[in-house]
């Protein structure tokens, strides 16, 4: 177990700058998730930490030690690959034992460790099989077992669940959370799936185009996104955004003037503002005075709840999550209200405006 410090990490492949100025502190025992859209540099950052890629600039400290120039083999980290990267010609047992044999541990110790990991990961019955004779979920557990036995300083996971079907993904997600609770190692986990990030992480690092957009606990990111990107990325369905200008009366008006919305006090008239509101914080107005009228274009009924997709008078798309089973019909004009405490405001540069 160990902490990790990244200072000003930059990485370019030839002329292409993939990572820029990454600063990050990961505490000992923490479960940190890197999340971001595909191609934003998550894997590259993880591989830089692993030592599989050299940095172009910056410093990497593990347990306070500068390991920037150390090879992957010397850093004492374990990685679970998206493809699992199991050795196809070795049995499950040999796959798990391989790193321990490299360390020249005594055979009895190796055996004990492999058996313990196999028990924990329910692989005991499959130790003699080759990876080719395992299901996706079992292979996944072998890959995790291979990391666990080594008792690494840090666990690195690169989208480990992306090759599993939806059901298995949820089950394995829970197992991973259980694993972290049980062995308590420092874990760094890459995913493009914000639900995985929200459910697993102690802290989430949101990456976009090679930069860190925000670092925070799942609830911090949900409740106080630092900018438009994070606001849009975290949460499902994604947050609604309405762009407009502050009127002299302190309200928000859309460019075509068709929609006016209430704003908290204190915004300079004329300022360009984007108002964000999550679908779960848009309510049918009921008897109260509506903030706007939503023309319903599509209703998704999920049983426990329903999503309404519609447009406001100015054409802005807006999603509403209703706890009702069957709240409206396509074509309905639904008066809606925004929960006042749940409004997110962003300035012209896309940064959150904090009261």
């Amino acid at each position: 177990m160990a902490g990790l410090v990244l200072k000003g990490i930059g990485k370019s492949f030839g002329p292409v700058e993939v990572l820029r100025g990454i600063d990050l502190d990961v505490a000992d025992g923490e479960f940190v998730v890197f999340v971001g859209p595909s191609g934003c540099g998550k894997s590259t950052l993880l591989r830089v930490i692993a030592g599989l890629e050299e940095v172009t600039s910056g410093t990497i400290l593990i347990d306070g030690q500068d390991v920037t120039t150390e090879r992957a083999a010397e850093r004492g980290l374990a990685m679970v690959f998206q493809s699992y990267a199991l050795y196809p010609h070795m049995s499950v047992y040999r796959n798990i034992a391989f790193a321990l044999e490299n360390m020249r541990l005594p055979p009895a110790e190796i055996e004990a460790r492999v058996r313990r990991a196999a028990t924990m990961l329910r692989l005991t019955d499959y130790l003699d099989r080759k990876p080719g004779a395992l299901s996706g979920g079992q292979r996944q557990r072998v890959a995790i077992g291979r990391a666990v036995v080594r008792d690494p300083k840090i666990f690195l996971f690169d989208e480990p669940l992306s090759n599993l079907d939806a059901e298995l993904r949820v089950a394995t997600r829970k197992e991973l959370a259980g694993l972290h609770a049980e062995i308590g190692g420092t874990m760094i986990y890459v995913t493009h799936d914000q639900v995985e990030a929200m459910t697993l992480a102690n802290r989430i690092v949101v990456l976009n185009k090679g930069r860190i957009e925000q670092v925070g606990t799942p609830l911090e990111l949900y409740n106080r996104p630092a900018n438009l990107f994070v606001a849009g990325f975290i949460g499902s369905p994604r947050m609604n955004f309405i762009r407009g200008q502050v009127t002299p009366e302190g309200r928000l008006v859309t460019p075509d003037g068709k929609v006016t919305l209430p704003l908290p006090a204190g915004h300079a008239p004329g300022a360009e503002i984007t108002l964000g509101i999550r679908p779960e914080h848009v309510l049918p107005a009921g008897g109260e005075a509506p903030d706007a009228i939503l023309t319903v274009d599509l209703v998704e009924k999920l049983g426990s709840e329903a999503y309404l997709y519609g447009t406001l008078a100015d054409g802005t798309a807006l999603t509403l999550r209703s706890p009702l089973e069957d709240p409206a019909r396509r074509g309905d004009s639904l008066p809606i209200r925004f929960e006042r405490q749940r409004l997110h405001l962003f300035d012209a540069a896309g940064l959150a405006i904090r009261p």
Binding site: A50, G51, L52, R71, A72, A73, E74, G76, L77, A78, M79, F81, S83, A85, L86, Y87, P88, H89, F98, A99, N102, M103, R146, R150
Partner: protein, 337 residues
């Protein structure tokens, strides 16, 4: 028929070329329809296979049959009808040996010398060929500068005719050749490579490895590139030393390709003739005489042309090759399964 298949996309439908192709292809329509009518749909398969089978029969199976008949008949006449049947006499004289370990004790001492030389040659060549091809493939598989250039360079000799290869090396190795020139320049004594039996065998192996290595390197290189890169990254994360990566990951995963190469090298080595014959003429003495050269000389080059004996030796060599080919097919099938 021509109506159903549309012409290739590159050729506009109504162009002259398109009409020409359709017109020519159309010539086959009537006869084909007629044949199909005559033999039925299933029979058409044999109609299409026919020419090829005829070709094989004429140039492969018929000669094997004639060879078989030759080996069972005596005399020096080339025409089977003029040759008396003698049964297994040729085979008996080929197998007549005081000790199979000593070619000189055999009635057909050159045949057994050839067998012994071919075995030696095959063994050395397999080790040298697979060894160098493997090392070359491993090196060419790394991200080195000019990788494409080197791949081409190592493959180039494969394209040369064996006779050309042998002649080139003969110029280099002969008494006043390039190599001896270099040795004298460096102040050394000339070495008569084709007079020393050991040297002659060494160069026979060396030249054939030089000439064919590129082909086997290519097979091994393909095998190496089929190994997923992330296995090497996993091994790196597992703290694996380079030598262990080679022995525990690369070689086991390359094993199927290595076996294919081993068997192919074996089959080719047993048939070796042209390169070594042009390079050393089988000499000095019989030091590099191979089985195939014995067969050739017995049948065509000796004063008395003993076609029957040569045919019998061919049959023996053929059965060894047949067994090896079966082995190769079996391995290939097992790999595919």
């Amino acid at each position: 028929m021509s109506q159903t298949g549309s012409p290739p996309r590159a050729i506009p439908r109504d162009s002259l070329a398109s009409r020409l192709i359709q017109g020519i292809a159309g010539l086959a329509d009537r006869p084909m329809a007629w044949i199909q009518h005559a033999v039925g749909g299933r029979g058409m398969a044999y109609v299409f296979l026919g020419p090829n089978i005829l070709f094989f029969g004429l140039f492969v199976f018929l000669p094997i049959g004639i060879n078989m008949a030759m080996s069972l008949t005596g005399g020096t006449n080339l025409f089977l009808s003029e040759r008396p049947f003698i049964g297994g006499d040729h085979y008996r004289s080929l197998m007549q040996c005081g000790s199979y370990l000593d070619p000189a004790s055999c009635r057909e001492d050159h045949f057994w010398k050839g067998v012994s030389n071919t075995l030696k040659f095959t063994l050395f060549q397999m080790v040298a060929m697979v060894g160098t091809a493997l090392v070359t493939a491993l090196v060419l598989n790394r991200k080195i500068r000019g990788r494409g250039f080197f791949r081409a360079v190592y493959f180039f000799p494969v394209l040369l005719s064996p006779v050309v290869v042998a002649l080139i090396w003969k110029w280099i190795l002969q008494r006043d050749g390039l190599l001896n020139g270099a040795i004298t320049l460096a102040g050394g004594e000339k070495i008569l490579f084709f007079v020393e039996p050991g040297w002659a065998m060494f160069w026979a192996v060396f030249v054939s490895v030089w000439a064919h290595m590129g082909f086997y390197t290519l097979i091994l290189l393909a095998g190496l590139q089929a190994i997923p890169a992330d296995l090497y990254e996993a091994a790196e994360m597992d703290g694996t030393k380079p030598m262990r990566v080679l022995t525990r990951i690369t070689l086991p995963l390359l094993w199927p390709n290595l076996v294919v190469v081993l068997v192919l090298v074996l089959i080719k080595a047993v048939q070796t003739f042209d390169e070594v014959f042009v390079l050393t003429g089988g000499g000095p003495g019989t030091a590099t005489l191979m089985v195939v050269q014995y067969i050739y000389e017995t049948a065509f080059a000796n004063q008395v042309q003993n076609f029957g004996l040569a045919a019998a030796a061919s049959m023996l060599l053929g059965s060894v090759l047949f067994a090896l080919t079966m082995l190769q097919l079996w391995i290939a099938r097992r790999k595919a399964a």
